[in-house]
């Protein structure tokens, strides 16, 4: 254990940094996707709702590992070899971020939809009856109330997404799990290495949870 920490500690820490970077990119775009798709699913317009429904179910129905292979290998192959264009490649970070963003975005969309639907329809009607436009009522009245019920689910989804970054070791991104595999293959100390890696995830996630609890308390006031 000591030896691994001493020789590979900095490497693993840097790998954790990469994991967090990937998660951050993924979550950032997931929030944008989730907000857009989530809003689409509560609009009156049927086409918007249908598009949102298809997106969410498509992403939820496909394992993320398949999505990762598809984006990293499949899409450039289609572009360069089948369509005969050239020069499209993704870095593992790009493909990984897109993959996380799509996957987490679909779940965020569902959380946002459910949060909005949990607010009494009377709130929207009261806003509209005063002459406020739909979007304005959404912004000023519905979303502020919905966000409170959404926070725990959103934090939960953040944690899942943070852990899901490990799946992206399959496309060679040097995040924590991928790096740990290399350490194990050099040292053969698999128990010690994986114990350290597990503890690292645990610490980050616990910190995230503390931050979330603090935020939740602040929002309640």
């Amino acid at each position: 254990m000591d030896m691994i920490l001493r020789s590979y500690g900095p490497l693993l820490l840097r790998a954790m940094g990469q994991t967090l970077l990937l998660a951050l990119y993924g979550l950032f775009f997931a929030c944008i996707i989730g907000l857009i798709v989530g809003m689409m699913s509560v609009l009156k317009n049927r086409v918007c709702r249908a598009v949102a429904l298809v997106f969410v179910n498509l992403i939820r129905g496909v394992p993320m590992i398949v999505l990762a292979y598809m984006i990293y290998f499949g899409v450039p192959y289609l572009w360069n070899n089948v369509l005969g264009r050239s020069g499209l490649t993704f870095t593992a970070l790009q493909a990984g971020s897109v993959c996380l963003a799509l996957n987490c975005g679909a779940y965020m969309a569902e959380i946002i939809r459910a949060g909005i639907e949990s607010v009494d329809v009377g709130q929207m009607e009261a806003g509209r009856s005063l002459g406020l436009p739909w979007w304005r009522t959404m912004q000023r009245i519905i979303l502020p109330q919905a966000i409170r019920t959404m926070i725990p689910s959103i934090i939960n989804q953040f944690i899942i997404t943070l852990k899901d970054t490990s799946i992206l070791s399959v496309i060679g991104f040097p995040e924590l799990v991928n790096t740990a595999k290399n350490v194990v293959s050099k040292t053969f100390m698999s128990f010690q290495t994986w114990a350290i890696v597990g503890a690292m995830y645990l610490i980050v996630i616990l910190l995230l949870q503390f931050a979330a609890k603090y935020l939740e308390r602040r929002l309640k006031q």
């Binding site: 009261a126 509209r128 002459g131 009245i141």
Partner: protein, 250 residues
């Protein structure tokens, strides 16, 4: 009344269907005119379409057929900006629907400020005046959840009044209240009627109808079955359905 009064709301051949798994014909050829300053009370059994009628006037429901003309604007026309129409038609709901995420004062100020009807300072001054009027000036900083039902409903009325509407719609404003709080809300509504507000009120408070209504409308099965002065409707109803209904509620 001898002098010519302006028609505020004209409803012609209004039809409303709800299409779920079946088609529900909720309003079937409603014709109604509401004059400026008139108080119309709408009564009728549950499911007869009273709420739907009010919601159509406010554009909360799309019309399936017919026309509603408010102050000369046909609200079923695509050209009419429904938000503009709603600014001048206030609505009070059975369940108050105060904005839960803001205090009383901000509930009142939100729409006037957001729609640039007033500056913040004007809106606040006006909001305080309206709260004074419904007897709740001391609750300006309270959150909706801290108010009693009667207080909530009075705030809701004040909120609608802050938009300076020229028509007010009330959908069973006292039905969700404990009996001892009904009076305080009706009092505010009576005051409003006395000041000449044009009002359409769905209620089961027959005492209020007798005292304040210029006209009472009895609805059944999506139609207006009977209308007249309170004396006519309560004293000498023409239809058996009206008699049955009144026997049950009086």
């Amino acid at each position: 009344m001898s002098e010519e009064r302006k028609v505020k709301v004209r409803i012609c051949g209004l039809q409303k269907y709800f299409k779920t798994h079946t088609v529900l014909h909720v309003l079937n050829g409603i014709n109604l005119e509401i004059m400026e300053g008139e108080v119309v009370v709408i009564i009728g059994p549950s499911g007869s379409g009273k709420s739907t009628l009010l919601r159509c006037i406010n554009g909360l429901e799309e019309l399936s057929g017919g026309d509603i003309i408010i102050d000369g604007h046909n609200i079923s026309s695509k050209k009419v900006n429904m938000n503009k129409v709603r600014e001048s038609v206030g609505m009070v709901f059975q369940h108050f629907n105060l904005f839960n995420n803001m205090n009383v004062l901000r509930n009142l100020m939100l729409a006037p400020v957001d729609l640039k009807k007033a500056t913040k300072a004007e809106a606040e001054q006006n909001a305080m005046a309206m709260l004074e009027r419904v007897g709740l000036a001391d609750k300006a900083k309270a959150m909706p959840r801290q108010l009693s039902g009667g207080q909530k409903q009075r705030v809701a009325i004040a909120r609608a009044l802050c938009m300076k509407p020229d028509i007010m719609l009330f959908d069973e404003p006292t039905s969700a209240l404990d009996p001892e709080m009904v009076g305080e809300v009706l009092e505010v509504m009576k005051e409003l009627a006395r000041e000449g507000m044009t009002m359409a009120v769905v209620t089961h408070e027959m005492g209020f109808a007798r005292e304040v209504a210029d006209r009472v409308i009895f609805m059944d099965g999506g139609r207006i079955l009977e209308e007249g002065t309170p004396e006519q409707i309560f004293g000498n109803p023409q239809h058996q359905r009206t008699k049955d209904f009144l026997n049950k509620v009086l």
